[in-house]
């Protein structure tokens, strides 16, 4: 086993911070891109909520919104949150930072490819940013970009904005394809000695599953996006019926990717929770192997559920029930993960620092998201609630939990490892409780609005008699949105204050077992003093044979190592 020659080398500013090939710096670059877009996405959410609560009035700090601009707001809010916040933060930042550290590697398998992938995302972000400022404004055909609406400029009045939207997405896909190659090859090949696949932390399993799902589902959409772009700029008719095309084709290509994409975001989020629960329960995760098997089962099933987005799209109605069955059955593997999380708490010794609160918040929110998914998955119920706020509330409960609750949990948890300092607990707890309560204050009303029949993507609910009595719910959700955005201020303050003035972190401040905690905080380029050797699984907490409550994977003390 070659450990590699360590060379002390002075790196220029550019090689250190800009064109770095160090996976940790690349992770921070992803984090920066993701947080930047999170702010933009949040501001868009504020504007679109304002329009819904107080239609056609001046939004404070902005001005008049109106239906055309509103369509752009919802389109870009969705695009940004899914592709430019969730993926960069959950995969780009956490995946990049943690995969090499958790598998005991000095870097990713292909560091230069890794650098190329983050810079491709930066280019993609630039293209998306430019699309806001071209004549006609940014894309406004929904984040799903259904043709014919998206296929001809005259239907939306948006010309270059939508072309650039397609280009930005294509670059984003290219970026994460490159990332995916690293995410898969690194854990498979660069694992430390003794770290078998069934000793890998669950987060690594989740990141690998996410990468596989992404890489094996995005291809048809890339081809489909090329066809959409040709329809727009070259005058072809892939999706235009007047030229012999079929709009439904796009929906299949989109959702064939789009649904696995949901799990691409969800899996790393759940993985973070599965890492944090054992640490603060001081107990092994309950059912390590069953969780892995159900992750694999969910991944396989996720390729067979996509048409549940199309129950009423004019798709052959005989396809509905098979997809309804697979969709509802995919609840079983996720139910297992949730039960395993709850069972981990049983008999534990649970403490509640900020990361654990956010992890518990993820569980609580995701549970509601999962349970309400059963309504959407049932084809007859979907007839009524499809394209209503019920769906909006449902997917915010799943994706917001994975992205923000799990994302914050991960950030508070690994901040000491990333930046070498602890975050402030009081501000963190304030941040959690405000976020948790306000999130529910926004989205519980949306379930009710959805039950009341309020359609998605309408700019003015007051135009409909049957929705007018529901308007107070819209106003309530909007006010809660404003407060939720303000509730992120404690986090921003905490983040920057801790970055420079937080308590200096030791190597293993949470007394956790996985390999990243045996590296210095923050780890230097090359990560470990010596490449670790692994003796056991990742969750050996409160093991009866040792007096401490934790037992790191790389500590050789125990005479009989448990597998």
């Amino acid at each position: 086993m070659s450990e590699g020659v360590k060379v002390e080398e002075r790196m220029s500013f550019f090689r250190t911070y800009v064109f770095s090939i160090d996976h940790k710096m690349i992770a921070k670059q992803y984090l920066a891109i993701g947080l930047f877009w999170a702010i933009v996405g949040g501001l868009l959410a504020y504007l679109l909520r304002w329009q819904l609560a107080y239609p056609d009035t001046e939004a404070p700090g902005w001005g008049f919104i109106g239906p055309e601009f509103y369509n752009m707001l919802v389109t870009m809010h969705g695009t940004i949150m899914v592709f430019f916040v969730a993926m960069p933060i959950l995969l780009g930042a956490f995946g990049n930072f943690l995969i090499p550290l958790m598998v005991g590697a000095r870097d990713m398998a292909f560091p230069r490819l890794n650098m190329l992938s983050v810079w491709t995302l930066a280019l993609s972000s630039l293209v998306l940013l430019i699309s806001f400022f071209v004549p006609g404004g940014a894309a406004s055909a929904g984040w799903t970009g259904y043709p014919p609406l998206s296929a001809k400029p005259i239907y939306t009045g948006v010309n270059w904005g939508l072309n650039l939207w397609i280009l930005a997405l294509a670059l984003e896909f290219a970026s994460f394809l490159m990332g995916g190659v690293n995410f898969l090859t690194t854990p498979i090949n660069l694992r430390a000695l003794g770290l078998s696949m069934f000793r890998l932390p669950l987060l690594i399993w989740m990141q690998m599953t996410a990468a596989i799902l992404f890489m094996l589902s995005v291809g048809p959409l890339i081809a489909g996006a090329v066809m959409l772009l040709l329809d727009r700029v070259a005058g072809t008719s892939f999706y235009l019926p007047e030229g012999g095309g079929d709009p439904i084709l796009w929906q299949h290509l989109f959702w064939f990717f789009g649904h696995p994409e949901v799990y691409v975001i969800l899996m790393p989020g759940l993985g973070i929770v599965l890492e944090i629960f054992p640490v603060f329960s001081r107990k092994p995760i309950f059912g390590y192997r069953p969780i892995i098997y159900s992750t694999i089962a969910a991944a396989i099933l996720s390729f067979t559920v996509w048409a549940h987005h199309q129950f009423i799209s004019g798709m052959d109605p005989r396809l509905a029930m098979p997809f309804s069955i697979t969709t509802i059955i995919i609840s079983v593997p996720f139910a297992l993960m949730v039960f395993a999380m709850i069972a981990t708490l049983w008999g534990g010794s649970i403490s509640f620092p900020t990361p654990m609160l956010f992890a518990l918040g993820t569980l609580a929110i995701f549970l509601i998201g999962g349970l309400t998914g059963i309504f959407n998955g049932s084809a007859p119920v979907d007839i009524y609630i499809h394209d209503t706020y019920f769906v909006v509330a449902h997917f915010h409960y799943t994706l917001f939990s994975a992205l923000f609750f799990a994302g914050f949990a991960g950030l508070y948890f690994w901040f000491p490892k990333m930046f070498g300092r602890m975050m402030n607990e009081a501000l963190g707890k304030l941040h959690f409780w405000l976020t948790f309560l306000l999130f529910n204050a926004i989205f519980i009303p949306m379930f009710l609005l959805g039950a009341g029949g309020m359609m998605r993507r309408i700019a003015n609910p007051m135009q409909y008699e049957f929705l007018q009595p529901l308007q107070p719910l819209n106003a309530f959700a909007t006010i809660a949105t404003i407060f939720l955005l303000l509730a992120q201020l404690p986090f921003v303050v905490n983040f920057f204050w801790s970055l420079f003035a937080g308590k200096v972190a030791e190597r293993n401040p949470w007394h956790a077992n996985t390999l990243e905690w045996s590296a210095p905080s923050p780890p230097p380029h090359g990560n470990f003093d010596t490449v670790p050797v692994v003796y056991r699984g990742p969750y050996e907490y409160s093991h009866p044979s040792v007096s401490e409550e934790w037992l790191p994977q790389d500590r050789p003390t125990m005479p009989t190592a448990t597998a």
Partner: protein
């Protein structure tokens, strides 16, 4: 890296590929029903692809994981075909 590697007869494989190419073009001139012709043409395409994959991409000598990486994607896009068929081809 293992130096001892088996190299199949690459030129022989190429001869097979060219022969199959000529044969598949030849099928179009045969007086057989469309279904049979299509079956033969695409059957020969599959054989050609398998020959290239097994010999030139030396899948023959690869780890099981590499096989999986080649075959699982085929299964996945086939699922897509299966659903596109009633919805796009038959609508």
């Amino acid at each position: 890296m293992a130096r001892e590697r088996v190299h199949p007869n690459y030129v022989g494989v190429w001869l097979w590929l060219v022969a199959l190419l000529i044969a598949s073009v030849g099928v179009t001139t045969l007086p057989v029903p469309t279904g049979v012709a299509l079956f033969l043409i695409f059957g020969m395409a599959v054989v050609k692809a398998v020959l290239v994959a097994l010999n030139y991409m030396h899948l023959k000598f690869e780890h099981l994981l590499i096989y999986a990486m080649a075959i699982v994607p085929l299964v996945i896009f086939f699922v897509l075909w299966l659903v596109l068929y009633p919805d796009i081809a038959l609508h």
